[in-house]
């Protein structure tokens, strides 16, 4: 007898393969078929069987003989009255049809007895409905029988065989139900609830399909090969069926199955597999209209066959009502499903709207903090107002690699940044990526993030705070902390929203990084250009330096001779005119020599030797040693703050540069007043040494070429023209700038700008020690 205690517990699933094998092995534990059915199968599979033996065997059981004859009459209604014995049935409907009728009756009885033995009763709770199952099987059987008769398969496939194949096509499910009644009930409920096929539900819960189980049972019972293949392959698309002799029969049963389901003659949970009638009809070369006609009287036929098989006799309209009832149930479920889909669509619409508004609020080039603010505003819009904060990775470029600093941003009720704090989690703390989605900030979590409570202590009840990680393809871009209960929305919608936020934050971060890189690149390019220019200047100066050094040696020796001999002449000549000429020779030779020396000095690198320098003293000395014209009415106004700290400069170089600026101012035409001002520019702490005169100013040509060596706007008798060029070299050696421009009210303004001029304590100490 069947042992129901062997049903598999749902809570302890076995590994898939052993579990399935265990189930399939249980099939062997099922009782065998009735002795007559077994004998009929044995005889018909024997090479030497004789029809008389089978007829005699069926005739030995009058009840069986009577039911078989009734079934045979149903097969061929035109001759139903002439079928009065098994022999005549064989004569009229064929031996195979009679054999199928016998097996139908015997197998139905077999399972009916198992039902009776197990005390099973039909339940109406939505799980397995045996009566509905048999009605469906009968409907498929009757339809298959009819379809064979109207198809061109009736030559190779007898109607009785089609009937048996239709009746047993879901044998596997019946067998599974006998073996695992609770599991198959769950299968039915799962299929019903989720709108999936019984096969899919079976596979998910039990781990095997009704096809496999049915095939194993058919093999065990040695059912005809065609029946076994129908059980195994029915429901598959016609094109994918193997080239079997009974391929057509399999397709007929599949079509009958679809037709029966279409008329709601189906047990609960037996959903349509999605095949279309027209496809199968086309494959079998059947006229769809004829097929529909064949199915028109289905409920009456099913009732008649059910009566023959011994199922409770009910009027055929009862089956029709039950079909209508099932159709109504399906409609109700469809309505429920649509209502659910409508609710989901409304929620999705809200989410999409929130995403749309969030995207609308974005602007090109938004900073990360601006995007974070918009995320907070979007969250408030979606979840309602409350406490909101955000944990972000702190990507400050100065951050050491081993530190994982975070930024904690808290928001106002409007979603604007309230305050931002840089957080340094202790080593071993959870990272952003470790934080579980939606987890409340429980005491346990707080123990893992003890530092976080320190920051949130004033904000809200930390027990209410939940974490919502914002993930996207880049990883976790941040964690939103909030105290709002999330509305009952589909998880995927949250994901869509949070992924959108995270992607925007990541994109902004990338954009910000790219912008910073672009700026760095531009700065680097600028430096390269400046360095290249500097290099070219240096190379030019170096070449010039070599030339000047060689020239100095080659020219100073003759100049020495000229100068020396001229001095001797001066000493010896009595004629004053001649002596004056000799003196002139000597002076000019010295002038040429000075020019060579100045040029050589100009081409040498001006490395400053810095020391702490009193700027007031430097300025005073520059003015004191300024060579002024013998008769002048110049007024030099010096403005130097008393509180100027000592400057870390090469006093000699800067004093030389300043002297050159002063000399240019003094020599400028029409100059009466010179203002020398030394001050610190507050915004960038630059030292500014400015010489302003009230002369005629500088023309464009002079402004353009003022720093060129040997350039001078002055007439004959001028200086070598290296003063400003040399001054600029000294200032640039201090990494400063020397600018020259005309004043707004006339005159010229020359300014020395020094960025790095302050002494630090170490420099002062080292100088003091020296």
């Amino acid at each position: 007898m069947l042992n129901h205690q062997r049903d598999l517990p749902a809570s302890a699933p076995l590994p898939a393969t052993p579990r399935v094998e265990l189930i399939l092995q249980q099939l062997d534990g099922l009782p065998t078929l009735n002795a007559i059915a077994v004998r009929v199968i044995e005889l018909t599979t024997s090479d030497t069987f004789q029809a008389e033996q089978v007829i005699e065997l069926i005739g030995s059981d009058p009840a069986l003989a009577s039911r078989v004859m009734k079934l045979c009459r149903c097969i061929d209604r035109t001759r139903s009255k002439s079928i009065t014995s098994i022999e005549r049935a064989v004569l009229h409907v064929g031996f195979d049809a009679v054999r199928s009728a016998v097996l139908s009756v015997e197998i139905f009885d077999f399972f009916d007895q198992l039902k009776t033995a197990s005390g099973e009763t039909r339940d109406g709770t939505g799980s397995f409905d045996r009566e509905a199952f048999w009605h469906h099987s009968l409907a498929v059987a009757v339809l298959a029988e009819r379809l064979v008769q109207i198809s061109n398969l009736h030559q190779s496939c007898v109607a009785g065989e089609a009937y048996l194949a239709g009746l047993l096509h879901d044998l596997g499910f019946l067998a599974l139900h006998v073996l695992l009644p609770q599991s198959t009930d769950r299968v039915c409920r799962l299929a019903e609830a989720n709108g999936i096929s019984i096969d899919a539900a079976c596979n998910r819960i039990i781990g095997t399909t009704t096809h496999t189980t049915g095939k194993r049972l058919a093999e065990r019972w040695q059912l005809p090969r065609s029946i076994g293949d129908v059980i195994w392959l029915h429901g598959q698309p016609f094109d994918s069926l193997p080239q079997l002799p009974h391929r057509g029969l399999i397709a007929i049963v599949s079509l009958a199955d679809i037709l029966a389901r279409g008329r709601y003659i189906t047990p609960m949970g037996h959903m349509s597999r999605g095949e279309t009638i027209s496809d199968v009809c086309a494959a079998l070369e059947l006229d769809p209209t004829e097929v529909e006609l064949a199915a028109a009287t289905l409920p009456r036929e099913v009732s008649a066959r059910a009566s023959v098989l011994g199922m409770d006799r009910r009027p055929d309209w009862d089956l029709v009502l039950r079909c209508i009832s099932r159709a109504n149930q399906s409609l109700g479920k469809a309505n429920e499903s649509m209502r659910h889909a409508s609710t989901l669509a409304a929620q999705q619409n809200q989410t999409l709207s929130a995403i749309g508004r969030f995207h609308e609020a974005q602007s090109p080039g938004d900073s990360v903090m601006s995007v974070v603010e918009k995320v907070a505003q979007s969250a408030i819009e979606s979840f309602g107002s409350g406490f909101y904060a955000m944990l972000l990775p702190d990507d400050h470029p100065c951050q050491p690699e081993h530190e994982c600093r975070l930024q904690l941003v808290q928001f106002t009720s409007d979603g604007f940044v309230l305050r931002t704090e840089s957080v340094n989690p202790p080593i071993g703390s959870l990272t952003l990526a470790d934080l579980a989605e939606g987890a409340p900030l429980s005491m346990q979590l707080l123990s893992l993030l003890p530092w976080l409570s320190d920051y949130l202590i004033d904000a809200t009840d930390v027990r209410e705070v939940k974490l919502l990680p914002l993930r996207c393809g880049w990883g976790v871009c941040g964690v939103l902390l909030h105290d709002r209960p999330l509305p009952p929305t589909d998880q995927q919608q949250y994901n869509a929203l949070t992924c959108t936020w995270a992607a925007a934050m990541a994109a902004s971060s990338q954009h910000q990084g790219a912008r910073a890189l672009g700026e760095q690149l531009a700065e680097a390019n600028r430096l390269i250009v400046e360095t290249q220019e500097e290099l070219i200047n240096r190379k030019a100066l170096a070449s010039l330096g070599e030339i000047v050094a060689g020239a100095a040696h080659e020219m100073n020796n003759p100049l020495t001779i000229i100068s020396g001999r001229a001095q001797q002449l001066v000493a010896r000549l009595v004629d004053s005119n001649l002596r004056i000429s000799a003196e002139l020779i000597e002076q000019q030779s010295h002038r040429v020599s000075d020019l060579i020396s100045a040029l050589r000095e100009f081409t040498e690198r001006a490395c400053p030797t810095r020391s702490a320098t009193d700027l007031s003293e430097l300025v005073v000395n520059a003015v004191r040693f300024l060579e002024l014209p013998e008769q002048h009415d110049l007024d030099i106004n010096t403005i130097v703050s008393d509180t100027l700290p000592p400057a870390w400069i090469d006093a000699k170089q800067i004093a030389t540069a300043l002297s050159e600026l002063l000399r240019n101012a003094v020599e400028s035409k029409g100059c009466r007043h010179i203002e020398l001002r030394v001050q610190i520019d507050a915004p960038d702490d630059r030292l500014r040494i400015q010489v302003r005169d009230d002369g005629v100013g500088l023309d464009d040509h002079t402004l353009t070429h003022a720093f060129d060596p040997f350039f001078s706007s002055k007439p004959a008798g001028r200086q070598p023209g290296l003063g400003l060029a040399r001054a600029r070299r000294f200032v640039e050696a201090h990494q400063g700038r020397l600018t020259l421009k005309n004043g707004p009210h006339g005159g010229a303004i020359a300014t020395i700008w020094l960025d790095h001029w302050r002494c630090d304590a170490r420099q002062l100490n080292s100088q003091a020690a020296a």
């Binding site: 020796n557 020396g564 001999r565 001797q568 050589r600 040498e604």
Partner: protein, 199 residues
């Protein structure tokens, strides 16, 4: 006057007999011979005879070692060595310095010649061109100042192309002064006199 004449004669001579050395040192000839024979006074014997001869440098060394005044041997003029590869420059220096009685001047055109003359001439001061064809001035400076016999010699570097860094390096190498070409003759002579007077 006669002494001055004798001194000028002794100043010209490079090798002395024992009698001349005794007169210069104002000691007996026997004393000189004893010192010669004991090795305290360096010299040589004339080949093929037993006559003793004393080179001027050895005699001066002996006199200084025994605190004997050297005025008798020297003329009173300061010996100046001019080192420059430019003939015209050398001629200018010779012309200028030879006119001054205070100086006895010799010239060399290379570092090699300068080394030889320093050994022979024992100059009080060298006017040294920085850029010589065979050796740089700072190296000449260094060698003269590290030699115990010549370390007292004053050196004035004369050049038209030396930078301030090189002037500082020359100072460290032992140069006493630096004069840039072209120069003022009077100032140069004053400086030469100043440095040689200090010796």
């Amino acid at each position: 006057m006669a002494k001055n004449t004798r001194s000028s004669i002794w100043a010209e001579k490079q090798v002395f007999t024992t009698g001349e050395a005794a007169e210069i040192c104002n000691v007996s000839q026997q004393t000189i011979i004893r010192c010669f024979d004991s090795g305290r006074l360096q010299g040589f014997r004339v080949p093929g005879s037993r006559f003793r001869r004393i080179p001027k440098a050895d005699l001066l060394r002996f006199m200084k070692a025994n605190d004997i005044p050297t005025e008798g041997l020297e003329s009173g003029q300061k010996r100046i060595l001019v080192v420059d590869d430019d003939t015209q420059i050398v001629d200018l220096f010779l012309d200028v310095l030879s006119r001054d009685d205070r100086f006895e001047v010799k010239a060399a055109k290379t570092g090699y010649d300068a080394g030889l003359l320093t050994e022979q001439f024992k100059p009080h001061l060298i006017l040294l061109d920085y850029m010589l064809p065979d050796i740089n001035g700072n190296l000449v400076c260094q060698r003269i100042k590290t030699n115990p016999e010549t370390k007292g010699t004053k050196i004035i570097i004369v050049s038209g192309v030396v930078s301030q860094d090189e002037v500082d390096a020359l100072g460290k190498a032992g140069a006493d002064d630096f004069v840039k070409k072209p120069f003022n003759i009077e100032k140069l002579i004053d400086r030469v006199a100043e440095l040689t007077e200090a010796q």
